[in-house]
Symmetry: C2
Subunit: 414 residues, 2 copies
Amino acid sequence: MTLDEQVAYLTKGCVDVVREAELRTKLARSAAESTPLTVKVGFDPTAPDLHLGHTVLVRKMKHFQDLGHRVVFLIGDFTALIGDPTGRSKTRPPLSRQQIRENAETYKAQIFKLLDPDRTVVDFNSGWLGSLGSEGWIRLAAGYNVAQMLERREFRRRYDAGQPISVHEFLYPLAQAYDSVHLRADAELGGTDQLFNLNVGRDIMPTWGVEAQVVMTTPLLVGLDGAEKMSKTAGNYVGINEAPNEMFGKLMSISDALMWEYYKLLTDLSLAEIDALAARTESGAAHPKQVKIELATRIVTDFHSAGAARAAAAAFERQFARRELPTEAEVFRAKVNQPRRLTSIMVAAGLAPSSTAATRVITQGGVKIDGVRVADRFHVVPAGHPPFILQVGRRARRVRPFRSAPGQKNPAAP
Amino acid sequence: MTLDEQVAYLTKGCVDVVREAELRTKLARSAAESTPLTVKVGFDPTAPDLHLGHTVLVRKMKHFQDLGHRVVFLIGDFTALIGDPTGRSKTRPPLSRQQIRENAETYKAQIFKLLDPDRTVVDFNSGWLGSLGSEGWIRLAAGYNVAQMLERREFRRRYDAGQPISVHEFLYPLAQAYDSVHLRADAELGGTDQLFNLNVGRDIMPTWGVEAQVVMTTPLLVGLDGAEKMSKTAGNYVGINEAPNEMFGKLMSISDALMWEYYKLLTDLSLAEIDALAARTESGAAHPKQVKIELATRIVTDFHSAGAARAAAAAFERQFARRELPTEAEVFRAKVNQPRRLTSIMVAAGLAPSSTAATRVITQGGVKIDGVRVADRFHVVPAGHPPFILQVGRRARRVRPFRSAPGQKNPAAP
């Protein structure tokens, strides 16, 4: 790859790159001196169960490895060992070293599906932060101003709202910054919510005699619903330990628009390759369903194997043929706070002009749920029902029931 | 002493007592359990050369000792060992352990003139702060809020003015507070400028399982000029290592109003005793000059001996008789930016109605400087001239020449 291509590959999908020119300089020097760059990424040791949302960042680490660089998978166990010293959060008890070791193993089992173990250093910041010493902490804290800290949006918001910020919360970004000093990081990657913390590292490194790191952030991945960020809580996720068929089926349910975002953030294809694929789809040379199958195949291959992906694709096709599932996943988010008449959902989803019309189609046998005909015109969808395919004649919707919080409006369909 | 008398004795002259009721409780418990209270006072190891201004605080420590309590003279060497980690202050290089030990000896030689060595613990906070550990610092910082810190007047002012406050400046009050935790202090004393820091100790102690300390502050002592706080820079001080005669003479130069303040802050007399003395002076039963001689005698006795004080008093009387010095020290602060005609000063000091009148008195032989007749009517006082007694006939002034900063007005005479 040329230097331009390297920069394009590494910055693909990134939200912030501070500064691209410095990244270019470091890459050029690395090549000239045949010395790999050190790329640092911090992870919280309390949440080792990854979904595709987390892999956006891990994949960005992989991209650096693809170009021969050295990645530090840094487990931020220093703060976890302490827990919440204010005693305010009952949900943050300190972790034991044993728990942290176990979580690290769980992490490894997952990340090495994407990362090259030979180019990955798994490290723990308690090693150096635990022995930083009083003078070290004072010196670290001396390198940053209160006003700079309060520029962080989250701090600013709480300060302005009169909500307490403990002084030790100012020490945590500095501790993370010191990790970069200790590791002599050339680059640090993180989610967009980490931009402030990553820049603190960038800011203080020169005062400790270390060249400032390049800071790069990856975006939050939108979940399967195309609406909220992917998370366990929202239920719109694909866990990287899920079975191939489950993973494949979930990925086939996303919208075409979301599919291109996933191509960008969940595959190693370059932007040029993705653009070419989009153009072929646009012109009709490639079929959207096939393009989506290719995406799902790539992702299942990453976390299982090519064989498993082929088998999952075949299984999906069989299921699709049997149930006449719609290829286009037009998702309708239906509010189902309490058991709701199917006819009401049909009207709300735009599959029938009125309740009367909806009742008529049901009695005529033209309505199916997940491929199974519904004969009862009083059919009710219970609260808590899982997503289903609703077919009315030749039209269909994926219906995703949800319970609204009190006072919450029906979120816009994607 | 009754409990009431103890409280009155200990709080005499204090600016803040937080809370007097707690002090009373602690004193009662101390008596009941025959266990002395621990009284902590922190001192900066960089400035061991004391003047009477510093002794206000040291004497308050003595008052606790007088009632049988244990005093910790705490040398805050932790921060001094680090110096200024921001590198902004070139005048604050780190001190070596050797320098700190030497400064401690200098301190001891001075404070043991007032304090009882047997009831004084001289300690150094580097002992526990240097080994506080990362978890200790985090826990310490977790116990205080950013908003609480910014309530400190000095921080608030700088923050509002956009002047930088380094994060480590938030750690220093917490470190001082931890001293109180470590020492299990029952009370902490300090100057009024220390009120915030002392209260931080009071605030955090309960979260470390230690009973909160009582906080007591002593006022700044006004200097000999009766105008500014006593300091070396202002030149209005009495050093506690000064010779008896010098000390005595300086003290005799203060105004009557200041004399009562000095009685309160620089002697062990109770307020009741001082009030009685003031009443006798008011009624004419005691002569102000004699009362001032008694004050000077008490102070010189404290720092030298009763014999030295008697000798100094006698020497002063002889000098007074010889030079016909004024008993009342009416001080006139004369601006002498460049050599200034004596006649001009006489007019400004109110000792002559006009230059012409002033010239006439000089030529008539009625003007003396420090008891020596001035014959030259063009006599000039050079810039930088030390203070002197100016007599015009039977009237006299202490003239204290000063240079004004550019644009500064002549400060009001006391």
